[in-house]
Amino acid sequence: MPRRMFRRRPKRWVAPCVTGALAVVVLVASCSDLPLGAVDEAAPTSAPLAKKGGSKPAKTPPALLSPVRIAADAAGSLFVSDFLAQAVFKLERAAAGFDITGALNLSEQPLGVAWAAGRLFVGNAVSGSVDVYDFGRKKPRRLYSLAAPVSDPTDIATDDGRGLVFVLDGRAGRVRVFTLTDGAHLYDISGPGENPSALQNPTGLTVDVARQQVLVSDYGSLDGGGEGPAVKVFGYDGAFATSIAGEFSRPQGLAISDSGGTPVVLLADAMAGVVLVLDRATGETLGTLGTQFEGDTEAPAPGELWLPLDVLLAEGGEVIVTNNRAQRIESFDAGGSLP
């Protein structure tokens, strides 16, 4: 298969159920007077959240430095893993955007994050484990770790109803499946290799609870001659279903939606600096969210994405994106069309 590179598509995606959608820029404010999350007004120009410079950094500023993955609980609170801050931040809605209202401080870098059954699941990039925390306490407490190692836990998803936790091991090229209740290892899905069902350089993961499927984004072969980037779909039982190829280059976090009648995949393309809305059946790009930051301004303007790494589809169709190098999250109103 020839290597596919992205092509920017100007078409906007508007959720069929929403009209007049307007992008809302985000959020997280500079939190100079914390503990946890005193909040400034959301700045439309989105100044960097953490001051960079030669001066000695503040001890524990709960500000986003390198947001990677994002999850939500039933109440709509967000949990964002931050690679550089070595923390998982809890964000709650405020008058303008979100406030940081809690933090799980770690001694190592987190990657994948998920919320299920009142617990926070966090992938540890250094120790190669997935640790489970009780975040409801004033001070989060580690409960246990999933029972099998995951060398590079880049993303996590759960099926609460069936009691399953899916963890993507980026380095091993497989999805490990665990029980939700006690973290027992059940089985693995896929593995490295050259065949179409193999995972070569996977990065992101989500699950389709209704269809009992696991969707994995994969950079594909990086040697220039192999399979291009794709979203690979497996059944819960590990059977390979299909590969969604499209006009994208470095696919990262993803989400799914059936709400508009046409099942779509929302896919963060880190290289292209957009979130792609893909027809799940054909891989055709139906629209995009956000625009690529081109470095013309000192800081990305609202809606400009600089290394987007994950996508969360929230209640009401709101799409929330971790805008990594912009050091913030970006929220697109239902449908996400930008003015």
Partner: protein, 201 residues
């Protein structure tokens, strides 16, 4: 084959030859423009960073911000095991210290490791030579020409890759007048990890 089909053969051959010659000329041109005559970094395919159709600028980059090119693989959730983050100082970016295509020769005639530039712009704004041929003692490599060797070769130039800036800043100040003795010859990144913006935890 009938005559009216055969008459196209010379034209096709001519066009094909011209195409091949043209490709060769372009390839030669590209090679001559790279920082070194040696092959490009063998771990990187051109298409990692360049988009032949639709790339931005003269370099046909897949993303106009070079840093994004690097971090899609070397960033937190990238596929490379070599994960990095920008230096904590100001708006430092990858190309302040690295070249993208190949290891380059330094001013002493050796070859720098890890795609480190042969010169960087120091704090004072001047270009300063860099010699980086060893990763230092923690990697069981020589102290000479490592991150910061305290002018071990005695040529009067503090050309360790860290020295170039840290000769003029408040921390680990390596200058002739202020002979900071902090871990000279050691592997700076052992404590100041690249993945953590060269900060210590």
């Amino acid at each position: 084959m009938t005559w009216y089909r055969m008459k196209w053969v010379p034209a096709i051959v001519a066009v094909g030859a011209a195409f091949l010659l043209g490709v060769g000329a372009v390839t030669d041109s590209l090679q001559s423009r790279t920082a070194s005559s040696v092959a490009l970094n063998p771990n990187h395919d051109c298409a990692y960073c360049h988009n032949l159709h639709g790339g931005s600028s003269m370099q046909l980059l897949a993303n106009p911000v070079v840093e994004a090119l690097c971090l899609t693989c070397h960033g937190p959730s990238g596929t490379s095991v070599l994960k990095v983050a920008n230096h904590v100082y100001d708006n430092s970016t990858c190309t302040d210290c690295h070249v993208s295509h190949s290891n380059v020769r330094n001013w002493l005639g050796g070859t720098n490791l890890k795609l480190v530039r042969d010169s960087v712009i120091g704090q004072e704004g001047n270009s300063r030579p860099v010699v980086f041929e060893s990763r230092g003692t923690n990697e069981a490599e020589p102290t000479l020409h490592s991150f910061c060797d305290g002018d071990e070769d005695g040529n009067g130039v503090w050309d360790g890759v860290c020295d170039t800036c840290h000769s003029d800043v408040g921390r680990h100040t390596y200058t002739e007048s202020n002979k900071h003795g902090h871990q000279q010859g050691a592997t700076c990144t052992r404590c100041h990890e690249h993945v953590l913006q060269f900060k210590t935890e």
